[in-house]
């Protein structure tokens, strides 16, 4: 196990380095010179050269790469290309927002999906199973931005129950405000996840119910309810953990869009905006942090597996 973890750790570092390198060169391949836009009507070739020199963009791209790698190893992510904000502070302010949305959407998804999945599995091929499946398909195939806009219209504009945009931090505004600002964006993302998770739970439970040890448990005369709760559910937990790991993977894809709809400057919004503005240091720093979280969250999930399901062993 220890050996496995060490091997995975080495892999993780390589993947993170690969991501960082990929994004460094990808950004420089994108057409659109940030210098031209920064200068706007003041643009002249001389001014552009001067600004390029000032930002260190006149160096050979490989030298820039080596310098950047050196900076990272010293823990320095630099500052945004306009110099208005350090990459570190942008990430530190964005991360809690994205993480909060992800966490709450996971809670919402689990709350909906686990009971629904169990119901669908127990009443297999019944009307309830059909209804739950239909809901799942709706959830999966509904574009989240569209659902988000509708949620705003219903709960913020018409009913006036919840705020329509922005984020409130727990430390400044308290738990209630934080929660109120997060419900709608989390619901917009959580609906899709609930659908995916529900199908995992259903499939996992069905498989477990048909497996040998459940049959053994039944044969031993255990009550049906105890069989389901004691053995079946334990196994249907595995998909929940899987999706938790996947959650991290989906996190950015989902939040990029939803943060735009709800005007929340989380990591997703930060990244897309920075890509559009060709803010090299910001994109590079943010991707680096995202890749780290990504890779290590998955490592954690894989280790969690072995704790939940003793059948899985890594060598």
């Amino acid at each position: 196990m220890t050996q496995y973890i060490i091997r995975r750790l080495i892999h993780s570092v390589i993947i993170v380095w690969g991501c960082a390198t990929l994004v460094f060169f990808l950004m420089r391949a994108i057409p659109g010179d940030p210098i031209i836009q920064m200068l706007g009507p003041e643009y002249t070739p001389e001014a552009a050269d001067a600004l390029r020199r000032k930002l260190g963009l006149d160096e050979h791209v490989l030298i820039q790469y080596v310098q950047w790698m050196g900076d990272i190893l010293r823990g320095d992510l630099g500052s945004s290309i306009t110099g208005a904000e350090s990459v570190r502070s942008a990430i530190l302010s964005g991360l809690p927002k994205t993480m909060s949305i992800a966490a709450l959407s996971f809670v919402i998804a689990t709350t909906i999906a686990v009971p629904a999945g169990i119901l669908a599995a127990l009443k297999r091929n019944s009307f309830a199973d059909f209804a739950v499946s239909l809901f799942a398909f709706l959830g999966v195939s509904m574009p989240s931005f569209w659902f988000g806009i509708i949620l705003i219209l219903v709960f913020a504009v018409n009913l006036g129950w919840l705020p329509s945009l922005g984020y409130a931090s727990i430390s400044d505004d308290g738990l209630l405000e934080w929660f109120k600002h997060l419900i709608l964006p989390s619901l917009a993302i959580g609906a899709g996840y609930a659908a995916i998770l529900m199908r995992f739970v259903r499939a996992g439970l069905l498989e477990a119910m048909g497996s040998d040890y459940i049959r053994t448990a039944r044969a031993k005369g255990l009550a049906e309810k105890r069989v389901i709760i004691g053995h079946g559910l334990r196994n249907s937990l595995i998909p929940v953990v899987t999706v938790a790991g996947i959650q991290v993977a989906l996190l950015l894809s989902g939040t990029v869009v939803i943060e735009t709809v709800f005007a929340i400057r989380g990591i997703g919004r930060l990244l897309v905006g920075a890509i559009f503005d060709k803010d090299y240091p910001m994109v590079q720093g943010a991707i680096l942090v995202v890749a780290v979280i990504f890779v290590f969250a998955n490592l954690l999930v894989d280790i969690l597996y072995t704790l939940i399901d003793p059948r899985i062993k890594y060598d």
Partner: protein
């Protein structure tokens, strides 16, 4: 879209034992699978519209001289959009484009992914490590960010969007195929073929590839729906196809500003996307059960 960590995916499929089923049993199960039937019917209807849509459309999808924001009526079954164009006609024209995007994404990521997975699984060793670490890289890179970056590099336009989405999803294929190949490589017929001196290429193409088809087909079915959904997400971020190409995603996006005064602009293309994803998922789910494929990732 679900990403399983590579090791888990391998474990799950290694644990699965698929019983070889005879052709007759296959058809009996296929018929008994209601899911496959419903899915097939939905996909067939959509394919029909995709092929003949332009002939069936009541109006020219480009004509913009009708009333703006006209509610659904007998003249315009799905109403008109914010430019005064008939939404039904645009959606019929868009069916072909959205399907082209979905199918192209699936085919492209399938061809590249299967090839990589086949090579990685068959040869193993450093080649396997190299390919799979590259796949891990694609997987760790947030899909939509990858697509945003690629579209930003190569520009918008339908071809580049297809490439961008396909690259983001090709690691799924590579992983599924590699796991299958690892299992098959040690099967008797592959060993026998090697023993009688068949070339690597022959063993890979003639003996191993056909046996990996089932999970690949299932995965591809899901990928079509994913491609269509991903296109609408990219359009939302301003990176979609050219505005003159009436994909469902574009119509849906153009309608999002008018949800209150003209719900029909976004609701109908949204429903079209849902029904398509539903049909493809039913088909994929059903095929998975029928072909007894394990270890293929859950849908979307």
């Amino acid at each position: 879209m679900i990403n399983m960590s590579p090791d888990v995916a391998t474990d799950v499929s290694a644990a699965a034992e698929s019983a070889p089923s005879t052709r007759r049993r296959f058809w009996r199960r296929l018929r008994s699978e209601r899911k496959v039937l419903i899915g097939l019917v939905i996909v067939a209807i959509l394919a029909f519209i995709a092929i003949f849509g332009p002939l069936l459309a009541p109006y020219d999808p480009e004509a913009d001289d009708y009333e703006l924001f006209a509610a659904p009526s007998l003249d315009h079954l799905f109403g008109t959009d914010s430019f005064g164009r008939d939404i039904l006609s645009r959606m019929m024209a868009g069916t072909r484009i959205s399907f082209t995007v979905g199918i192209s994404v699936a085919v492209l990521s399938m061809v590249v992914g299967v090839t990589l997975g086949l090579i990685a699984g068959y040869f193993g060793g450093w080649l396997d490590s190299l390919i799979m670490r590259f796949m891990d890289l694609l997987w760790a890179f947030p899909e939509i960010i990858l697509a945003v970056g690629m579209v930003a590099v190569f520009g918008a336009g339908i071809r580049n969007i297809i490439i961008a989405i396909a690259v983001a999803y090709l690691d799924d294929f590579a992983r599924v195929v590699r796991a299958e190949v690892l299992r098959l490589r040690e099967e008797e017929y592959a060993l026998a073929a090697k023993a009688i001196g068949a070339s690597h290429r022959r063993i890979m193409l003639m003996h191993i590839l056909p046996n990996t088809l089932a999970p690949v087909i299932v995965q591809a079915t899901f990928a079509v729906g994913l491609g269509i959904l991903a296109e609408s997400g990219l359009t939302f971020l301003g990176l979609g196809v050219s505005p003159s190409t009436p994909t469902w995603g574009l119509t849906l996006n153009e309608g999002r500003d008018f949800i209150r005064q003209a719900w029909w602009i976004s609701v109908f293309p949204g429903l079209a996307i849902m029904v398509t994803v539903l049909g493809l998922n039913l088909l994929g789910d059903g095929l998975r059960d029928t072909l007894d494929v394990r270890g293929v990732k859950e849908t979307v």
